[in-house]
Amino acid sequence: MIQLTLLQINNLEIEFPSRKSVLRAVDDVSLSLEKGDILGIVGESGAGKSTVGNALIGLLEPPGQMTKGEIFLDGNRIDKLPDSEKQKIRGKEIGMIFQDPLTSLNPLQTIENQLVETINLHLELGENDARQRAVELLDQVGIPDPDVRVKQYPHQFSGGMRQRVVVALALCAEPNLIIADEPTTALDVSIQAQILDLMRGLCKQKQVGMVIITHDMGVIADITDRVAVMYRGRLVEHGATEKILGNPDHPYTQSLISAVPRPDIKLIRFPQVTYIEDVAEKNTEIDITKHWLGKARDYEAAPGPLVELKNISMRFTTKPAFLRQNRIFLDAVNNVSLDIHEGEVFGLVGESGSGKSTVARIICGLYTPISGAINFAGTELTALKKQSELDPFRKQMQMIFQDPYSSLNPRMRVLDIVAEPILFHQLAETRREVEIIVKDLLEHVGLGAQSAVRYPHEFSGGQRQRISIARALATRPRFLICDEPTSALDVSIQAQILNLLKDLQEELGLTMLFISHDLPVIRQMCDRVGVMKDGFLCEMKETEVLFENPEHEYTQHLLKLMPRLEGLSLEGLDMAPQPNQN
């Protein structure tokens, strides 16, 4: 007898009708999957990849509906089944894993209750055997002390542990097919590596088929056997992982892969993503020597490094109490010393909770450290007490935040958002002049002057980040702090924004502190890097030296976990000069 294909999708088409028009989210997608194989579906936001996952498990968000196509599981057609039959398949035949482990579990029930409920639903085991199996499952997904942990509530687990619980829940009834929708996007790299290892192990060992939906090429390279690339609802390319990564045929795939920051070599610029439509308009060139933006940058050269942190420590109270000994503190930053030289891009890398963002906030004065000193261009900022004394220095530093959606005031026009710092620091004479400057700035970051009269919600994530950059430039800063500026963006947009930052840095001679958890991005952007862990600065070095010869144990660990993306082609790339290693 011929081995049946585990999952077969033929000509799938999904539409979301709205009052005015019909959005075709998935258009003519055909895929198949064998037992024990891992298929990746990759694409940028809005590509329809999650919609395919939801359709497989029969949980399309209304008003979405399958208008065409067929889905076969083990040779049986499942898309036309009535709801009650689909419900029997969910969990038993197909397991699903979602992106955010923090919100995937019911906060009010113990892990045991949630596991036993699901086990009893699918397998008729009886209460005691089900409990037994719950403990075994936790053990399988690598949770230590499963018999104790099973009695606990979700909030008592860390993010990575919760994702393991989610995997255990998806495995309850030993489904043949697992669909994982961005299973590691919310996790740190080291946790991501563990979860991916776990999933690959389970897949191969139990001969389960898995569909992984992700935007992350690193995950794809790491775990999948085959890849399907989706773009605007269509399947543009489909094949073995090495083939797609190393030698893609379709221009979109080529653009997408070239936009992924390379972990292995440093390039001068990111290759422009040519295939993607509505790329921002060409930046208008400004003669920086004559323009307002270039004026008044005649700051005296700092005697030493531009920014210097000396033994900075910062502590938060996590549990306040009347008596001092009952308080619980979190040492977010521990005795960190570093210096950033004029004109350099300094990277700060670390996992969540390592204190890298806290350092940025201390430098720009949002937090006051409990000890240590900050020097900026030779002046000790920590010694200044009055706001009015600090303001001239604040003007010289600006910050770009991670989330482009919440860092712009939705009730202000773009013009007012960008003009605000100019008006506050009184950098221009008249209101008219301010307007002209703002329009120039907006053109310079590639948005076009006409965007000044619009509101932030009319822009996409990448465009909003451009507005943030224009706002940061509006005080003619010397020092720019970028806190994960591209983590919320798609890779193609990320490449554009990073290129823009690189250009501006060169053109204006900016000094930058660049914070990221993403090692390849750090490698592409920074001259020197500091690695942080649990509030300590472990290692600080020239970027290329650090990536080639990490010394600290933790740095080596991080670099080992970095997705390698092996098999990328090197053709036609501008490599940055390698540092002389003598």
Binding site: I57, G95, M96, T103, N106, L108, T118, Y153, H155, Q156
Partner: protein, 328 residues
């Protein structure tokens, strides 16, 4: 948990002392207590002597201390109007108000929560829309108007239900109950519906909003993806998660049902504390007003305390937050 309760108790004591201070100030400084006690023909010497004997010349702190000491055992002195101890008056009226409030609260919860769940699950159903429309009426019509309309319809036109009073009551110790006689139960119907209507619509709208919020949560989607039947997803996973905010509001509302039963009690001439209070205001019967103020504050404090403890029962995140901080 114990430390938490202790902290809350301490806060409650502060709240009660503050209220007592206001009540005492009312007692002592609004009008002249001597004038309220003696006739017009009392001489100045006699007044001074009475003032001295009652301790009204003592320092403020001593007088306040005495007031708090007496109040803590329920002693608020004599009512000017009734010439009887306030304690007795309140004890007489308390059962009527509490029974009315209890029935209203149960009505509001027992009808409000299921209606909220129903309107959330069947958002676009005909019945849901009807409920939502009716609830608008419930929120926007003033209580007294609803009471009067009910009286007009069921009391005057149909003559099914009594329009005022508690009906026959049964005495159980010092407690008088209307639950045990037919006329007592009949008299309860209209006042309790009137009092419950606003709370019911509020709870319904709150449960609906919370439920819709929770149904969008990831863990609900994940529960569905594990194949759990719809009923289990809605009631075991979604409903319990909606209850946390509902408990807060319900607790506060229960307090206000007791405190603001005044209007309903006036409309239906219900012999409860609210009616007593209204009459006391009319007659400037300050001891009764002070006692009512302190008592209502006491109810609020107790209910809030119970609500806080209920949080611990419902939400494990609060229960073990200490273990989390130490453990990880």
């Amino acid at each position: 948990m114990l430390a938490f309760i202790f902290k809350r108790l301490l806060q409650s004591v502060v709240v009660m002392l503050t209220v007592a201070l206001i009540a005492f100030a009312l007692f002592r400084y609004v009008g002249d207590p001597i004038n309220n006690m003696v006739g017009q023909d009392t001489t100045l010497e006699e007044r001074a002597e009475l003032k001295e004997r009652l301790g009204l010349n003592d320092p403020f702190i001593i007088q306040f201390y005495r007031f708090v000491r007496d109040a803590s055992v329920g002693e608020f002195g004599l009512s000017y109007q009734h010439r009887r101890p306030v304690k007795e008056l309140i004890a007489e009226r308390l059962p009527a108000t509490l029974e009315l409030a209890l029935v209203s609260a149960i009505l509001a919860l027992a009808i409000g929560i299921p209606m909220g769940v129903y309107t959330a699950l069947k958002r676009y159903g005909f019945l849901s829309r009807t409920f939502m429309t009716i609830s608008l009426v419930g929120v926007s019509l003033p209580t007294f108007l609803i009471g009067i309309l009910l009286i007009l319809f069921f009391g005057v036109i149909l003559r099914w239900l009594p329009t005022f009073g508690r009906g026959d009551v049964v005495e159980i110790g010092w407690w008088t109950s209307g639950f045990l006689t037919a006329s007592g139960l009949k008299s309860l119907i209209m006042p309790s519906i009137t009092l419950a209507l606003f709370q019911m619509t509020l709870i319904m709208r709150l449960v609906r909003a919370e439920m819709l919020e929770v149904l969008r949560a990831d863990f609900i989607k994940f529960a569905r993806a594990r194949g759990l039947p719809t009923r289990a997803v809605h009631f075991r996973h979604a409903l319990k998660n909606t209850l946390v905010p509902v408990i807060t509001i319900t607790g506060l509302q229960l307090g206000s049902i007791i405190a603001f039963a005044i209007i309903t009690e006036s409309v239906f001439q219900w012999p409860g504390m609210g009616l007593l209070f209204i009459q006391a205001i009319g007659e400037v019967d300050i001891p009764v007003m002070a006692a009512y103020l302190v008592l209502i504050a006491f109810f609020f404090v107790v209910i809030n305390m119970v609500v806080d403890i209920l949080y611990f029962v419902v939400d494990p995140r609060l229960r073990v937050d200490k273990a989390l901080v130490n453990g990880q």
